[in-house]
Symmetry: C2
Subunit: 305 residues, 2 copies
């Protein structure tokens, strides 16, 4: 199961109810962080998760509200004697920022390696494991900014117990091998291949986080068929000119992307502090275009099974 | 009236209930910040105060949990188009930190001047106004660290209305002059001096914040007769060796300073995350030595009238 935890749903200035930008994806024992605005470590603690489980951090861009939580996070990890290296991905400039905050022994004494990967170009696969990959796409903001797609690999189909029994395969090690996609030979000489006892392959989940961006058609293809699209929605539709001027999106522009990309669910995020008292307007407007829209709230958890 | 607002009562690693270090003193339209750990700006917003009212920031030392809230605070102030300069006081190194975070246009575009005052030596008066002064004292921590004393100037005594009437001074401008400490001449030729209509001068309030420190006798004189002493209390008395090793104080050491300095009230602060579930032990132990002890809590407000 994949858990998406909203750590910060606000825009540049935090509010009583919304922290600065950060999303966590919890998957298979890892926590992947997307953006790390000021206060992110405490939000994760409030969500009941250990900051030590963070393995990778993906930074959309270098604006302070997306990176100023990194120093404190690394400070705490060091006080907790972290030894495991951490990977940080982001546009050019991330290395310089991390170099500075870790160069001064006065700030804190770093206890682990930080591998920084600066992204270049319009589109790239920035990391790959046996279980998932993360892709980056340059979007349309005032400084170089990347959206990210977390794409789980397709998994083998479900193990069909009734089929295994029907075929007379003894319960135990052989079942495990078949589940892991390996053929087995029975004592009577028959060879059983995985396709004989597994259901159809299960499509991996896809989650897209846009970071800060204007409406950009490039996101339609990037977010295609995503299970969850987390899109910049700084303004409501009446402020579309402001959105353009400040390189952000309106809630209806986010919905337009969601509709054309045929995603399953849209989450509106990066909510301006002007909506502190009436955030509902954003989701109301978006729903006219894309029905399955929700508004991000701090510490909200979305489970993708 | 002076309001002391606890913005962060925790130690190096924040917890669900305690943010990193910061204390605000609200006085006469200004907010003075003492330390600015990560999350300070949001704590101030939660306290219902405007970050734009901050006029001066006093940093005890350069450990991350005392300074990593500065970048985000200045970011937000810039987005709110602050033009008024701000003063920052602290040990050597504060300038370099602020230079770095404001040097990169990518992080944010600074809209106001930051006047940094690096403190040297063992003791200094670091700022003075008509209403108060702030003094710094070097304490005993692992890196150069200053405690601060906010000392309000003594104020003229209360205006005694009954005396003024008794002396036949006409209500109006003359009363105002006398209240401001000026002599006046009545139409019948009599000269009235302020001492004739004012009560005894009122002693200014004194608030001392130690920052991170081991038990140090120098604080006894520095905190003498303070109305409020806010003292490092990272550990309980059973961990006094750990306190020495990590250059912090125990709650009982804090109480010992409070008693010997004859302060009015002691607030224990910088509470280690190990006491998240049982912080009461700190105040229990301290009260055996100094009765008027309280434990800091985030967003607690102390009014000094």
């Amino acid at each position: 199961m994949i858990k998406v935890i909203v750590l910060g749903s606000g825009a540049a200035i935090p509010t009583k109810s919304r922290n600065c930008a950060s999303i966590a994806i919890q998957y298979n024992g890892e926590i992947l962080l997307f953006d790390c605005g000021e206060g992110t470590q405490r939000q994760l603690i409030k969500a009941g998760k250990s900051i030590m489980k963070i393995t990778k951090i993906f930074i959309t861009h270098l604006h302070g509200d997306h990176i100023f939580g990194i120093p404190g996070l690394f400070h705490s990890m060091s006080l907790m004697h972290r030894e495991k290296p951490i990977d940080v991905y982001g546009p050019k400039g991330v290395q310089k920022f991390i170099d500075f905050i870790t160069s001064e022994e006065n700030f804190f004494h770093k206890t682990f390696d930080i591998n920084v990967h600066e992204i270049e170009g319009e589109k790239a696969t920035v990391c790959e494991t046996d279980m998932y990959r993360v892709e980056a796409l340059k979007v349309d903001h005032s400084i170089p900014t990347y959206a990210y797609a977390f794409i789980e690999r397709d998994r083998p189909g479900k193990f069909l117990v009734s089929k295994a029994i029907e075929l007379g395969i003894p319960r135990g090690k052989l079942w495990g091998k078949l589940q892991r996609g390996k053929a087995v030979k029975l004592s009577d000489g028959r060879v059983i291949t995985p396709d004989m006892v597994l259901g159809p392959p299960r499509r991996g989940k896809k989650i897209v986080y846009t970071g800060d961006t204007r409406f950009t058609e490039a996101l339609i293809d990037f977010a295609k068929e995503a299970d969850l699209l987390i899109h910049d929605s700084t303004f409501d539709e009446s402020l579309s000119e402001k959105a353009r001027e400040y390189f952000h999106s309106t809630c209806t522009e986010a919905a337009e992307i969601a509709k054309r990309a045929n995603v399953k669910k849209l989450m509106l995020i990066h909510v301006s502090n002007r909506y502190e008292k009436n955030p509902g307007i954003l989701v109301e407007q978006a729903k006219k275009i894309f029905e399955n829209t929700i508004l991000a709230k701090d510490l909200m958890v979305i489970e993708l099974k």
